[in-house]
C-alpha cells in the first residue's frame, strides 16, 4: 500500500541522493567499483542491525544490545569457523537469537521497560563475549570456507553479505506490509493497551521483534567475523546508536506505531556514506580534518538531516 517515497520518508532519500551526487561530482574514484563494493560490504552489517532495530522501534521499544550481541556472535562464529560456514553461520545467528530471547523474556514476559532490559543484555553480552574469547580476538580458521561469506563478491562487485542483508530486508518488509504479525507490531507501538484490548497477539509480536533483532545482530556478528577474519569481543560499541539514528532518519518515530523498512535501509546507508565521504575529503588534502572535527561534522550532518525532516513534514499526527 504505502509508496516507498512517502512524505515523512522523503527526506532520507533526498539526502541520500544529494550526498551520492556530491561524492560523484567532487571526488575521483568515488564512483569506482572498488569503493562501491567495499562500502556495501562494510555497511551490510549496519543495514542488518538497523532493520532489526526498525521493527523493535515500531513497537515503541528499543534494543540497546545489538552492538555487544553482534560482538558476542562474532566470537561464537569465529570459534565455530573450523566447522565451516554451514555451522558457524547458524551458530552466530543462534547466539543472537539467544540474546534476543533474553530480551523478549524480560520485556514480554516480565514486562521490564525495553530500554533497561536491553541495557542489561548489552552488558551481559559483552561479559559473555569477553569470557568466551578469554579477553582476546578469536582468529577464524582461514582454511575453512567461513571467510567466503564476508570476503567474496558476486561479479567482483556485490559482496555476499549485502545480498544476504537484502534478503533480510525483504523479509522484514514483507512481514511488516503483508502479515498480521507485522500489523500487530505497528499496532503495539501505536497504542499498546488498545492493541491488547483489541485482542491482538501482542506478546507474540513483541517476542518476535526482539528475537528478530537478536538474530539480525547475530547475523551482523557473523558478517563481522567472516569479513574481518576474527571474532571481536570489543567491536560493536555504539552500533545501537547508529542503528537508532538510521531508523529515525528513515522517518520512524521512536514512540512507535509507524515506520518504514526501506527508509531505514536508506538511513543506514546514509550514515555509512558520511564516513566514506569524510575519508575522501581527507584524501583531497585541501584541508585535513582531524578526528575531532569529523565527529563535529557528523553531528552537524545529523542535525541537518533532522531539520530537513522537520521541514519536509514529519509523519506526525496533527489533528
Amino acid at each position: 500500500m504505502p509508496g516507498v517515497l512517502r512524505q515523512g520518508h522523503l527526506s532520507v532519500w533526498v539526502a541520500l541522493a544529494v550526498l551520492i551526487l556530491f561524492g560523484v561530482l567532487r571526488y575521483d574514484n568515488f564512483a569506482s567499483a572498488y569503493n562501491l563494493s567495499s562500502f556495501l560490504g562494510y555497511n551490510s552489517m549496519f543495514v542488518v542491525i538497523s532493520v532489526g532495530m526498525c521493527l523493535v522501534i515500531m513497537t515503541g521499544g528499543i534494543d540497546l544490545s545489538v552492538g555487544t550481541v553482534a560482538a558476542l556472535a562474532s566470537v561464537v562464529a569465529a570459534m565455530l569457523s573450523p566447522q565451516g560456514l554451514i555451522v558457524a553461520l547458524p551458530g552466530g545467528v543462534a547466539a543472537g537469537l539467544l540474546a534476543g530471547a533474553l530480551n523478549a523474556g524480560m520485556i514480554a514476559g516480565l514486562r521490564l521497560p525495553p530500554f533497561m532490559a536491553t541495557l542489561a543484555t548489552m552488558l551481559a553480552a559483552k561479559g559473555a563475549a569477553l569470557s568466551l574469547s578469554d579477553n582476546r580476538t578469536v582468529p577464524v580458521d582461514w582454511a575453512s570456507d567461513f571467510t567466503a561469506l564476508g570476503m567474496n563478491k558476486v561479479a567482483n562487485l556485490l559482496p555476499w553479505t549485502i545480498l544476504v542483508a537484502l534478503v533480510v530486508v525483504v523479509f522484514a518488509w514483507v512481514v511488516v506490509q503483508r502479515t498480521s504479525l507485522g500489523r500487530t507490531v505497528l499496532a503495539i507501538g501505536g497504542n499498546a493497551e488498545a492493541a491488547h484490548l483489541m485482542g491482538l497477539k501482542t506478546r507474540r509480536a513483541e517476542v518476535f521483534v526482539y528475537l528478530f533483532s537478536g538474530a539480525c545482530a547475530g547475523l551482523a556478528g557473523v558478517f563481522l567475523a567472516s569479513g574481518y577474519g576474527a571474532g571481536q569481543p570489543l567491536e560493536g560499541a555504539g552500533w545501537e546508536l547508529a542503528a537508532i539514528a538510521a531508523v529515525v532518519v528513515g522517518g520512524t518515530l521512536l514512540t512507535g506505531g509507524m515506520g518504514s523498512v526501506p527508509a531505514t535501509v536508506a538511513g543506514a546507508l546514509l550514515f555509512g556514506l558520511v564516513f566514506n565521504l569524510l575519508n575522501f575529503e581527507n584524501g583531497r588534502g585541501t584541508f585535513s580534518l582531524s578526528a575531532d572535527w569529523q565527529s563535529v561534522i557528523r553531528g552537524l550532518f545529523l542535525l541537518i538531516v533532522i531539520l530537513l525532516q522537520a521541514r519536509l513534514g514529519r509523519p506526525a499526527l496533527k489533528s
Binding site: M106, L110, R111, L112, P113, F115, M116, A117, L119, A120, T121, M122, L123, A124, K126, G127, A128, L130, S131, N135, L241, I244, A245, V248, L253, L254, T255, S290, A291, D292, W293, Q294, S295, V296, I297, R298, G299, L300, L302, L303, I306, L307, A310, R314, A316
Partner: protein, 315 residues
C-alpha cells in the same frame, strides 16, 4: 500528604540487603574511608542522574550528558590556566567554574530548543550533541590532555567537609534542592504534567516549550557541574574520556530509582538511592575480586532484578 512510594521501599530493602552482604563479606567495609570512597565515586553519577530524572519525567531522554561533561571539563582548565586567570586568581577561579557551567547550560538550551520548538525526538536531538559535543571539547583542547595543579579548583573534587568528600555534599545538596523544586514549585508540577500528557498540559495552559527547555538546561548544567568535579578530582582534563558512558549510568540510576521512561514521574530521592545502589553494587564486585567479565554479567542481572522490583504494577 507525601506519598511514600512503595517502589522506594523496595529499593531501600534491596539497598539494606546489599549493605548487610558487604558487612559480611567485604574486607574493611565498616570504616569511614569506605564511606568517603563511595560518596566521592557516587557523586558525579548522582548529580547527572538527578538532571536525567527531570528529563525523563518530561518524557524525554538526554544522551548528551557525557559530552556536556567533557565540554565543561575541557573549558575549566583552559580558563584558569589562561594568562588572565593567573593574573587574577580569585576572579579566575570563579570564571573557571561559572563559564563552563554557562557553556553547559547553552548545550542544554540547544537540546531544548531542538526538542521543544522544532519537535525533534529527544533521543535524536541529544544524539547530535552526543556525537559532536565531545568532538567540540577535543577541538577546543586540540585533543591534548590538560594537566594542572590548582589546589583551589581541585578542592571541588578532593576537599573534605566533616570528613566526607565535598562532591558528596554537593550531590546531596543538588538532590535535596531539586527534590524540593519538583515537589513544591510550579515548574515541578508542569514538568510532571507535560511528561504525563503533553497535549492536555498545553490545553491547561502549561508553558510546555519553556518547561522542556528549562529541563534540558538544568540537566546540562548539572552535567557540567559533574564534569568540573571529575576534572578537579583528577587534576587533569581529558576531553576524550570525561563522562564517557555517563548517560547510561545516569539513566540506569534514574530508572532503578523508579523513574518511568514514559514520563510523568520524577522520584528524585529514588534516583539518589538508585545511584547509591549501583555504586555500592560496583564497589562490592570490585572489592571482592569478581573478574571484569563476570562484573558485567552480574551487573546486568542485578539491573534486571532491580528494575523488575521497581516496575509499576497495573491491575
Amino acid at each position: 500528604m507525601t506519598r511514600l512510594d512503595p517502589r522506594l521501599a523496595g529499593l531501600l530493602v534491596a539497598l539494606a540487603a546489599l549493605l548487610v552482604l558487604n558487612v559480611a563479606i567485604t574486607p574493611n567495609f565498616l570504616n569511614m574511608q569506605t564511606l568517603a570512597v563511595n560518596a566521592s565515586q557516587v557523586a558525579t553519577i548522582a548529580i547527572v542522574a538527578v538532571g536525567m530524572t527531570l528529563v525523563i519525567a518530561s518524557g524525554g531522554i538526554d544522551l548528551s550528558v557525557g559530552s556536556v561533561m567533557a565540554v565543561a571539563g575541557a573549558l575549566a582548565p583552559m580558563i584558569f590556566l589562561s594568562g588572565w586567570a593567573v593574573a587574577n586568581p580569585g576572579l579566575g577561579l570563579v570564571a573557571s567554574i561559572v563559564l563552563p557551567l554557562l557553556a553547559a547550560a547553552a548545550c542544554g538550551l540547544f537540546n531544548g530548543v531542538l526538542i521543544a520548538h522544532l519537535g525533534v525526538q529527544p533521543i535524536i536531538a541529544t544524539l547530535i550533541f552526543f556525537i559532536s559535543g565531545r568532538g567540540i571539547a577535543q577541538v577546543l583542547t586540540n585533543g591534548q590532555l590538560q594537566t594542572f595543579t590548582n589546589p583551589d579548583f581541585t578542592w571541588l573534587g578532593t576537599g573534605r567537609i566533616l570528613g566526607l568528600p565535598v562532591q558528596g555534599w554537593i550531590a546531596l545538596a543538588v538532590t535535596v534542592v531539586i527534590a524540593l523544586v519538583v515537589r513544591r514549585t510550579i515548574y515541578g508540577r508542569y514538568l510532571l504534567s507535560v511528561g504525563g500528557n503533553e497535549r492536555a498540559s498545553v490545553l491547561a495552559g502549561a508553558p510546555v516549550a519553556r518547561v522542556k527547555i528549562a529541563t534540558y538546561v538544568i540537566a546540562a548544567t548539572l552535567a557540567g557541574l559533574a564534569g568540573l568535579i571529575v576534572v578537579a578530582q583528577n587534576s587533569a582534563s581529558d576531553a576524550a574520556r570525561i563522562g564517557q558512558l555517563m548517560e547510561l549510568d545516569a539513566i540506569a540510576a534514574a530508572v532503578v530509582g523508579g523513574a518511568a521512561l514514559s514520563g510523568g514521574r520524577a522520584p528524585i530521592l529514588g534516583t539518589l538511592l538508585g545511584a547509591i545502589f549501583i555504586q555500592l553494587m560496583g564497589y562490592t564486585l570490585i572489592a571482592n575480586g569478581i573478574s571484569d567479565e563476570m562484573t558485567l554479567i552480574v551487573t546486568a542481572a542485578i539491573i534486571a532484578v532491580a528494575v523488575w522490583l521497581q516496575r509499576g504494577r497495573r491491575v
